[in-house]
Symmetry: C2
Subunit: 542 residues, 2 copies
Amino acid sequence: MQDYELTIQHALWRIKRLFPRKEIVTKQEVGVHRTTYGEMVPRINQLAGALRRLGIKEGDRVGTLCWNNYRHLELYYAVPCMGAVLHTLNLRLFPKDLQFVIEDADDQVIFIDQTLIPILNQLAGKIPAVKRLVLISNGQPVPEHQLGEMLDYETLLAAESTDYPWPQLKEQSAAAMCYTSGTTGNPKGVVYSHRSQFLHTMGVLQVDNLALSEKETVFPIVPMFHANSWGLPYACGFAGSKIIFPDRWMGDAPSVVELAETEGATIVAGVPTIWTNVAGYLEQTGKRLPKVHTVICGGSAIPRSLMERMDKLGLHMLHAWGMTETSPLGSTGVVRSWIPENQVLDRRLTQGIAVSGVEIRIADPASFEELPWDGVAFGEIQVKGPWIAKGYYNNADPEKMTPDGWFRTGDVAKIDPDGHIIIVDRTKDVIKSGGEWISSVDLENAIMGHPKVLEAAVIGLPHPRWDERPVAFVVERPEYKGKVTSEEIREFLDGKIAKWWLPDEIRFITEVPKTSVGKFDKKVLRSGAKPFTEAANATAQR
Amino acid sequence: MQDYELTIQHALWRIKRLFPRKEIVTKQEVGVHRTTYGEMVPRINQLAGALRRLGIKEGDRVGTLCWNNYRHLELYYAVPCMGAVLHTLNLRLFPKDLQFVIEDADDQVIFIDQTLIPILNQLAGKIPAVKRLVLISNGQPVPEHQLGEMLDYETLLAAESTDYPWPQLKEQSAAAMCYTSGTTGNPKGVVYSHRSQFLHTMGVLQVDNLALSEKETVFPIVPMFHANSWGLPYACGFAGSKIIFPDRWMGDAPSVVELAETEGATIVAGVPTIWTNVAGYLEQTGKRLPKVHTVICGGSAIPRSLMERMDKLGLHMLHAWGMTETSPLGSTGVVRSWIPENQVLDRRLTQGIAVSGVEIRIADPASFEELPWDGVAFGEIQVKGPWIAKGYYNNADPEKMTPDGWFRTGDVAKIDPDGHIIIVDRTKDVIKSGGEWISSVDLENAIMGHPKVLEAAVIGLPHPRWDERPVAFVVERPEYKGKVTSEEIREFLDGKIAKWWLPDEIRFITEVPKTSVGKFDKKVLRSGAKPFTEAANATAQR
């Protein structure tokens, strides 16, 4: 068989030869910008020419600080296809983290959307290694900044030939990189190869994966700076799907609904928060989106109530699981043919089943031994496959690989006999008690089932005998403030969870500390928590 | 990204872990044999153990002379996954060709279905290099033969462990091979790598390819000895589709329909002849197959009348194009969203559009220069991709690659601006006239449009000035025997074809010679044809 290198240049071939008429639509301040693959290809060539003129060579990193729009898509093609590495900068990083990733990746040039100048301006004078900034704008006045000279995107393109001599690339060469927004320590860089992007795309197009095809109109509301926008940009290129880009209007439900409606979206993709907003807006207005047949949802678990609301609105949610380190598609919640009707919703709420190309296991925290798929045992999800990271850029966090070559996701899950993954915790939050694991999330959900409890966060605290034991931090509902006892909660939990899962202590607090995105901040809880009392130790040993 | 080797072992992982309950059903003399992937996996392990015990090592070729059944599927898994090479023997080859391919491939062992013993028995004493024969049977009396000792498949398996230490394979290593049934010279061997099989499978599962998924029940009526059964066995394994095997009852319409109906086939696959038979049977009996939503059809062009009949029967045909050398999927007739309703049937009758992973071009016969996709120019189809041959086993026919690395298919086509491939001829039949090509097939169809003509075959004959010029061999309808003139046919063609396509001579014959499968045998026509007369030469130069 031919030694055909699996590269993103294949997507370029397809959009040019097979789908020149297909549209790419981008929302703008007023109306939309409308182009086609056929019009975009010469611009991709010009962009590659401009990059070369700026001194970008094979392997150089090119940063983008951009929303979801057609010019970002041009960069998605031109940068990797000329042999350079597309580094999509996460505009939600803290300034010090943004500075770190720009330095760590050694970005030579950064392309920046005009509206994001204030974000980069926080690093003015701090990123001297970046040689050039290229401004992407529609001609609006540029916000004040101290970033120095900026080149203009359209001016650069206009100076170049609409032909470009694309080099012969090796499939193992780097195509793109993306940093995880780790809650501890520095962000860690994941480098995608041309091969991994090609193979991931071949997966996304499959029926039991995201099922993209030429006849679909795809609306990626997941940022293009986040894990390849779930692989949708290249998948649309391979398939020839029409794309709708929201630019920076991602969180705004009326705008999302209007764009989906007027442009005829059939597949939409985004995190649960977006769909919560959209569901509320649709319920309120009575509007519906009858053309949308699939709402791809990932990033975090889908609340049951949200899926039920969306079902009522005629919007079918498909849960997908993955992470930056898995390109990101690891599993999808496509329901198997043998699942009885009354269990379908439960299964759709799981993290789904491994897609073709990805091998998955759950493993014992200590021994890395594989655990059974019985829906009971839980361990860390570990994955293998051609689009799974084998480590991080500059060898950050070498512990993420098992000795036998599996990537450690840090997600803790059980897997049922049908292969459905059910995530129960993160490895850093799970409580390690006497060689066994206790899911902090399951425990929290059980406690929050108590009618007098508003919020509960559970962490493990060091314990002399059991290594760790759970402590629950409970916030009472306002009307029960000061009127709930530990005993009452323990009694409530009795029979609902295994006896050895019972928290050793229940501590009442006024509010659970939260991160900027509203998740329980267990790091803060842990660092401020008093150690176990002697009494508690005695209890735990009973 | 991980250096994950793309091998068929991934299919083994999926059927074992994700789809143990899914069925494999095989027609038998009485009723069906029913098993599951879950039951098959230990047998695949046993089979690998048996192969090892027979002395099969990595890289050794293992022949199969088998119909479509579950044991052949076990061989499809065990042989490549243990590192050996599955050589599916085409039971329709002439004995001398069968002998050639067994010798050329150097098959160490041959697995043979009991009913096929008479075929191999024609080579008794002539294939000394084959060390072992393994009989696959349901215990019926063995036909008389002079092939010597045969081992028994089930006995071999029973002696082995249900575990097997699958080796770490490299993706470039050979997984399978298949010979073309060339009409001239010896058959030529195509070697598939694990990588090519894996990637081809990733393609087959895509929506705009064959769209296999877990919920489908797939009925491959295309032989498993023919081009990987169009990739369906591994695609079903990746997807977890239920499979229905017809064993040797492939051509029998009542049996095909009954099996499809009782086992709930949703996707069926086979050559046009099968569907002609099935359509006739359905029309006659009034039976229908409402669960079948896709009839994959390849191997040769679909006659318009057949597609129309099948449409009326509620059976949607999907045309796919490819060949042994392309694994085989090259293009599919999935209709693009922009095609107007009144052109849909025309487009479905083309050879379709290149699937993801395959690059295609049409090239000038002499210069190999690419020709435009204007629906007019035609040239040889040349292809590139990770599952396209780069040559043949033992370097047979090195001329099949262009200097710039494209595989020459030998098919002559035009491509319309939407990317639809329309095959017009074979390179060996197309008429090379003054540096331009004339499609013999188009010319034949034009002549056969004449009401007095029953059959017409066109070949090119050497011509002093134009290199070649067309000659038409025409058979009149019985009632017009001896009553048709050349002039009459020329006049009829006037305006229907380009003037320079007009045949220089029209020769009336009683019957067009045909091959064993009923195609025009132009080789016979060419070898027996008288050269041009002086008069004709004069005409051609007018």
